[in-house]
Every structure is written in structure tokens, then in C-alpha cells.
Symmetry: C2
């Protein structure tokens, strides 16, 4: 039995015991499993998260949830509103307080988040402060500790944008390919690979030109809107093309389906970016 790239061994074992393929569709065993179970998603939030990092992928999941069962927990330091505009206290790296902000309600904390099958980690200006590791601020480590605790139980961990810096510092990118927001490339790869950040952090295969990467159970995307393209690819992988296409078509989103199309790595002059490729991508409604 063949398993598609990115399937974790745990899925393979469980899926093999599942019932035969849904009639009329050529689904993988994992896709059949996901069609039957209620998948538990978790979305990490923190002050200064980037809204589209969360809501681009969430829109696709919401559309999918009309047809397959799933739950979502929004997880932060406290329940209640979490603002996307980071208003730093004390000595901020940068004051973004004057910018627009939105508040999303966290439903769980890192202490009581439910069992999770898939964990989505957004980026945003707030990652800069989390990584600063103010010794007086315990919250700097709380997200990384949470990811470290839950990583093994999760089937997949998806990092969007600068969210990959949190994955890196939690040790989840050790020996794996990964990418990140291209405008913040040097900061993320520098901090994420810093000796001492994590015992495995200087063994990350950062990919300079990638809209998203897949390495086992860990997926990472380029900045902000790239999260939508990664989530479409993930939806195809986890649920099959029919459900994935229906979801993005309902959102009138024509996804970029080539993970190697990464024009922003050229725009932001990432060292090692593939400048020979065209910056152009031609898209149409998925499945058409």
C-alpha cells in the first residue's frame, strides 16, 4: 500500500484497519480515516498574531467543516480576546500600537487545550517579542513548551509565516526542511537556528524558495497569504482533491498549487532564492 508524502507512520497503522475506500473515490487510507473521524484542530494565538495567517487557513477549514466533522480550539495564554496589534509593555522592540488591530477570542489556554490532531501556529509581529526571551516574562517560553509537549501526540503541525520561528525554537524543525516569511527571512533563520535556542536548532534545512514545505508531520509556509496555499495542499493531502477543491471554490479562492513558486523570496532578496524562475503564477478554480 502506498502512502502519500507527509503521512506519519501512526496514520498508516490506524488507517490500515479502516473500512474499504468510499465508493467512487480513490482515497488514500488516511483520507478515508479523516473523512470518518472528528479531527481536532488547534490554533495558537498570541498578542501580535498576523490575522491572515490564521484566517486564510481557517476559511478553508470552515468550508471543509460543512462536509467533514472537525473541532477547533483557539489557544493562548488566557481565554478571551487576543489582539493582533501587539502593544508592548516595558521595552518593546518596536511600537506597533498605532496600527489597526483586531481581537479574536481564545477558547482555551496552553494549560487546558484539548487533545489535538493538527496544530496551526501563525506568525506576526508578536513573535519578535516572544522570542526576545525577556527573563522576567514567562510567556516567552510558554508557547514553545506547549508545542514541545503536544508535538508527539499531534498528527500534523503547520507553521505559517514567522510562526516557523516558534517551531524552530521548540525543536520541531530539527533535521527538517522548513521555510518562513520572506521579508523576515534573516531574522527567523538567524534566531531560529541560534545555538542555545534549542539543542537541535542548528540542524534546520531552511529552504529559501518555497511557498510551503512538507517534511513528515511538519508543514511550514512562507508569509501570510501563503498559509492559504499551504492549507489547500494540506486539505488535498488529508481529505482528497474533491473536498479540498469544493472548499476553495466555495471561498472563490484559486490556490497556487506549486510549492516551488515563491516570487517573494526574490522580491525580498532572500539569499539563495531562485531568481531564474518566473515571478508569475497562473491559477484557475481548483479542479477546473
Amino acid at each position: 500500500m502506498q502512502f502519500s508524502k507527509g503521512v506519519s507512520p501512526k496514520f498508516a497503522l490506524v488507517a490500515m484497519t479502516m473500512l474499504p475506500a468510499v465508493a467512487g473515490q480513490n482515497l488514500t487510507s488516511e483520507q478515508e480515516f479523516n473523512a470518518k473521524r472528528t479531527t481536532s484542530f488547534g490554533v495558537v494565538l498570541f498578542p501580535g498574531f498576523e490575522p491572515l495567517d490564521v484566517y486564510g487557513p481557517m476559511e478553508i477549514l470552515i468550508q471543509l467543516s460543512a462536509k467533514v466533522k472537525m473541532t477547533v480550539a483557539f489557544i493562548s495564554f488566557e481565554t478571551g480576546p487576543v489582539n493582533s496589534r501587539y502593544t508592548p509593555h516595558g521595552q518593546p522592540p518596536t511600537d506597533f500600537g498605532y496600527m489597526l488591530g483586531t481581537s479574536t477570542t481564545a477558547t482555551h489556554t496552553f494549560a487546558d487545550a484539548p487533545a489535538l490532531d493538527v496544530i496551526l501556529v501563525p506568525g506576526g509581529t508578536g513573535t519578535r517579542t516572544l522570542v526576545k526571551r525577556d527573563p522576567d516574562d514567562h510567556r516567552s517560553r510558554e508557547i514553545e513548551d506547549f508545542l514541545r509537549r503536544r508535538a508527539d501526540q499531534a498528527d500534523y503541525i503547520l507553521g505559517v509565516c514567522t510562526g516557523s520561528v516558534l517551531l524552530a525554537r521548540a525543536g520541531l524543525l530539527a533535521g527538517r526542511r522548513a521555510t518562513t516569511n520572506k521579508a523576515a527571512w534573516s531574522w527567523v533563520t538567524g534566531v531560529g537556528s541560534a545555538v542555545g535556542a534549542s539543542s537541535d536548532s542548528n540542524n534546520i534545512a531552511w529552504v529559501p524558495s518555497a511557498r510551503w514545505t512538507v517534511d513528515g508531520k511538519v508543514w511550514t509556509s512562507s508569509g501570510v497569504a501563503a498559509g492559504m496555499d499551504m492549507m489547500y495542499a494540506f486539505a488535498r493531502h488529508a481529505y482528497g482533491p474533491e473536498l479540498a477543491n469544493a472548499a476553495v471554490n466555495a471561498a472563490e479562492y484559486a490556490p497556487h498549487q506549486d510549492p516551488d513558486w515563491d516570487p517573494f523570496s526574490v522580491v525580498y532578496e532572500v539569499p539563495g532564492a531562485d531568481a531564474s524562475r518566473s515571478l508569475t503564477s497562473c491559477v484557475a478554480p481548483a479542479g477546473f
Copy 2:
């Protein structure tokens, strides 16, 4: 003096008194005005709003707000969390309660929203219940009354997705071109143009193939993700290409810039859709 399509007469009068163009840029008078003022945006929320209808455009505004001053008010029936998953009470048209939901914090009510320059109206499953006009539910009329009250003072009103049905029933589309979510086309145009819905509602020039439309101060977009393309076009119009391009590039979003590209009108078989056009759109980072 030439004014670009979509400029309201009020802008023309005010802008003419403004200082000369910013050195080095060829901005319109309106763009110079917007670069100087703190623009007041309002986003309407209601239970069952479609998240990407709000957060696609918001992401672009957030990026713009790093460079130009603006404020945003999230406006609903009550302040506090507004859930995107509509859980109907009483006799719902459809139960969507099992789907994923997210909560966004409303900062103002329809009664106390501040003076607004630009009003964004999203769509979503919640519009179905709002339009149902349950005589026992005063909320059905509250949004339409709000839009009617504030329309004249606003410089622009932007409807995303099925949000155009609320604009229609508030009389704001009378004698104007408009479009909407293509999967919900027949419902929106039927209900939006129903005799009795609004004295002017049967004089709407619904455009079957349009990613977005512009008619004076009223802009409307196709479904969900189309809101981002409309907002990029709006950002170019209101702030000029330099700021607009910087915003979408920071979001790693390559916008669709042709308002006539509307493949979903063909996918969803909208009567009168232009099926002769290619479904494909080729995009690159804005300005590249």
C-alpha cells in the same frame, strides 16, 4: 483636473484645497488627502459573518496602517465576541451550528459607531437569517437602517460577498452596478431586488461576471476571497500604487487586478456569465 473612476464629489471638493502632490509621486488629490488624514474605517459584524470576507481586506488595511494613519471600528448589535458560526435560535433556515466557528470582538454598536469614512460590509451564512425579516427580531432591520443612516456621511461603502444583499436592501445599490458571491447569486439578486425590500431595490444593475464592481462610492465584490482583490484595487485608488503594492507584498499576496476576471461566475453557472473568457488568471507580486 481629472479624477479617477469612483471618486465621490465630496472628495473632489475637499481634495482641491489640499497641498501640492508629495514630491516624487504622481498622486491624485484624493490620494494626497488620504495620505494626510486619519481615515476612519468601520467593519460591520453579525453572527454568521464569513471570516475571510473581513480578514482578507483587513490584512491589507493592517499592512497599510503601518504607513498611513487609520482607525477601525468593528460594529455589531452588541460589543464583545461575534461568532462566525451562526447558531440560529427558533426556526433557522439552516443549522450550521456543527461547523467551525471563530469569534471576533465588536468594539462598537450600530447605535454608537463613530463617524465613518469607509464602511466594509461582509457576507456569510448570517445574511440569510438577517434577510429573513423575522417580524419578532428587530435585528433584521438594524443593519440596513444603520447603512441607510450612515451612507451619506461615508466616503465609500464596500460590500464583500453576500454583504451586497444588505447594501441592496438598504437601498444603496439603487441605479448602481453591483455583484456578489457567485454560489449565492440567485438568492442575493432575487432577495436584493425583491419588490418591497426597498423602494429602489428593483433598479440594481447586477453584473454576473465581475470579481468586483465600482459605481461611485459603492464597491461590491464577488465571494469571500474576492474581497482581497477588491481591497487591493481600493487601496490603489485611495492611496496610490506604491502604498497598495507595499501592503500586498508584505502579505505575500499576488492580487488579481482585472475586475472582469470572474471564473467562479462560470463555475457556479450564473445566468449571463461570460463563459468565453479563460478561467485562468496569471499573477505576480504587485509592481513586479
